[in-house]
């Protein structure tokens, strides 16, 4: 079998390859298919023994720096019998998008990681959201930079107190982590 990589399409589908890309990525994968028109390879990385899930890569053949033929296996994917469930795909995508949106809301843009940690800590027990760089808790209490207990403004005194306490605790925790981590 040729290992010069000049004719990848000559190799059959299902063969195991160790590929190195022009960006330095190296991985082992099984060739699922190759599309000449778009020059795309579809590869499947081997799965771990316990884990049935694997990674799928679609790589443009131009970026293969070199590859080594490792062996040949049966084609794991027979297009004639495979199918996709479009409705499930749709649902999955929607769920993923919703999730991503939710997560995006949780991340403040242009805030320090410290602020983000405080936000995350608060969000465990309180409804929080970002308003630019201000953390808004329960829609009443606002914490602006530098996110100290003193920066907590607004809300009912009880809510304010509660938020202040959480901020304090979280700061302490961060401090500990920082000092212990170093």
């Amino acid at each position: 079998m040729a290992t010069d990589g000049s004719n990848p399409e000559d190799l059959g589908v299902g063969c195991l390859l160790s590929i190195k890309t022009t960006y330095g990525d190296e991985f082992e994968a099984q060739l699922i298919t190759f599309d000449r028109l778009s020059n795309m390879l579809v590869l499947q990385e081997p799965s771990k023994p316990e884990d049935p899930l694997r990674n799928i890569r679609m790589l443009k053949a131009n970026y293969i720096k070199e590859f080594i033929f490792l062996g040949q296996e049966d084609n794991p994917v027979d297009p004639n019998i495979c199918f996709v469930d479009l409705s499930a795909l749709q649902a999955r995508e929607e769920a993923a998008i919703r999730q991503a949106e939710l997560e995006a809301e949780r991340i403040g843009v242009g805030v320090t990681s410290e602020a983000q940690s405080i936000f995350d800590a608060l969000s465990k027990t309180l409804p929080v959201r970002w308003d630019k760089t201000v953390i808004v808790v329960m829609d009443e209490v606002r914490i602006s930079s530098p996110y100290l207990p003193e920066s907590v403004i607004g809300g009912t005194p009880a809510a304010n107190e509660r938020v202040k306490k959480v901020v304090e605790l979280e700061r302490k925790r961060l401090q500990l982590r920082r000092t212990s981590g170093q």
Binding site: D25, L37, M40, V77, V84, L89
Partner: protein
């Protein structure tokens, strides 16, 4: 190369045809999964795999993407922030990595479920394989559906066709059924192709085509987009019928409302679509009974020479200029005092609705309905359809050449004004004759009666007019304030 869809359907098991197919399959399989995309300059973007353009080259679209690794180059995408829709063209694409998936093997649906779907799918596949002649139809059907979503017409990349066909397999099943997986599939297919093809086209040529208003039936939507590709509705109907016959659809309940809502959602997702010229027929079945439906062809139509004033401006392929209402013609229609006022401000909006084929296909439709003041806002234009949907409570009535209405339709009886059906509800009478299978979308905007009293009301059902008129005959529009668009 690689993708020979026709071979696939003729049971050719040549490896080259299956290659492309496998790529398409893999592509579809990772939809909705979080992927990492490596691009030419070394950057890595993570996002949800939304769709791919597989026409000639492989480009992709991610949703909710962010840059996770910065490469050497300067890109227009910053490191911070979430990108709602990220298009990565083929020239920039290096690698797409989807982690933690399991490809289905031997008919096992990796992370999908449902043997039923498998069976149905297989049935679909096997049933359609031998039908080589059907494929073209299906391609067209798929294309027509895609057109709904701003697809570029005429794209005939093999891979894409096959891709579409693969989707079409499931989509086809939807036709004529209200079961959820199919409708979802149809939706999925449509949406799937929407972005992909919008991406491919990179021009708003097809922007006008978008999904019908909510009330459109699922199967209608799936079947009957015929705008850009000039797809004959008959083909769709034939294909659909054929497919329906040949498959055993699993009877899963699919709420049509979901489909409708989904379509409405799609509709909203593509706001640009509203603005453009009509490009598709919006078939809606006429419902004779039910809530007071004033199915009205919302056609703003201004005959060149007539003094009749179209309620809403319509762009018509025939060249009729549509106008905002001008209450001048004595028409049976109830007076619409607010017509002028309403239209005045909305004149510009009326360019959207299109009388479309009604104009030039002579599908005069008689609508028994309440007449509403001018349609303030057409929802979309349909060049090929006779009816324009208007959003406001105004409606324009497209009257057939017959002058019944003009001259005092005896059938009309005064009724108290009552709210029309939901604005977006459109009913389409099936057109007979000339445009087989094409339906005219009708707009049934809620009646907004300035005066509050309609001089008359038509029955709710919409009789279908015989296509006795020549195609180029303008459809008289029953305008507000008693306008009657005379044909000329």
């Amino acid at each position: 190369m690689g993708c020979r869809s026709r071979e696939f359907f003729s049971n050719d098991s040549s490896s080259s045809s299956s290659l492309c197919e496998a790529l398409l399959f893999a592509t579809m399989y990772i939809i909705g999964l979080p992927v990492d995309v490596h691009v030419k300059d070394g950057s890595v973007y993570s996002g949800i795999f939304h769709t791919a353009s597989v026409d000639k080259d492989y480009g992709i679209i991610l949703k909710k993407a962010r840059m996770t690794k910065k490469g050497k180059g300067d890109t227009n995408v910053g490191k911070e922030g979430l990108i709602d829709t990220l298009v990565i063209e083929s020239g920039d694409l290096v690698q797409v990595v989807a982690k933690g998936v399991m490809l289905p093997v031997d008919g096992v649906n990796g992370n999908m479920t449902g043997k039923d779907e498998e069976a149905a799918e297989h049935t679909a596949c096997s049933a359609e394989k031998p039908k080589g002649s059907l494929m073209d139809d299906k391609m067209q059907v798929n294309q027509s559906r895609q057109d709904e979503y701003d697809m570029v017409k005429g794209q005939t990349g093999d891979c894409r066709q096959e891709f579409e066909f693969a989707k079409g397999k499931i989509v086809e099943k939807v036709q004529g059924h209200s079961s959820s997986p199919e409708t979802d599939a149809c939706r999925a297919q449509v949406e799937f192709s929407e972005h992909g093809h919008a991406y491919m086209t990179s021009k708003p040529s097809g922007n006008g085509s978008y999904s019908a208003p909510k009330s459109v039936k699922a199967n209608d939507q799936c079947c009957e987009k015929s705008n850009l590709v000039n797809f004959a509705a008959t083909n769709i109907a034939e294909v659909v019928d054929h497919v329906s016959e040949s498959h055993n659809m699993s009877a899963k309940s699919a709420p049509r409302s979901t489909e409708s809502m989904k379509n409405a959602k799609e509709f909203k997702l593509n706001p640009a679509a509203k603005v453009f010229s009509p490009s598709f027929v919006n078939p809606i079945s006429v419902t004779p009974a039910g809530p007071p439906v004033t199915t009205i062809a919302n056609m703003a139509y201004l005959p060149n020479s007539s003094s009749a004033v179209p309620i809403a401006a319509i762009q018509s392929e025939v060249g009729f200029n549509t106008l905002v209402s001008r209450p001048s013609l004595p028409v049976k229609v109830a007076q619409y005092g607010n017509l002028t006022a309403a239209n005045g401000g909305n004149g510009s909006q009326f360019t959207q609705p299109i009388v479309g084929q009604l104009m030039h296909r002579t599908q005069p439709v008689r609508f028994a309905a309440h007449y509403n003041p001018v349609l303030s806002e057409p929802t979309y234009m349909q060049p090929s359809s006779a009816v324009v949907v208007g959003r406001s409570g105004q409606l324009v009535y497209v009257h057939p050449v017959t002058h019944d209405l003009v001259h005092g339709a005896p059938a009309i009886s005064p009724v108290p004004p009552r709210p029309l059906l939901n604005m977006n509800q459109v009913q389409f009478p099936k057109q007979q004759g000339g445009t087989v299978g094409q339906v005219m979308p009708l707009c049934v905007p809620p009646p907004v009666l300035a005066t509050g009293q309609q001089p008359f009301a038509l029955q709710n059902h919409i009789p279908v007019l015989q296509p006795s008129l020549p195609a180029t005959r303008p459809i008289p529009v029953l305008g507000l304030n008693g306008f009657y668009g005379t044909k000329f």
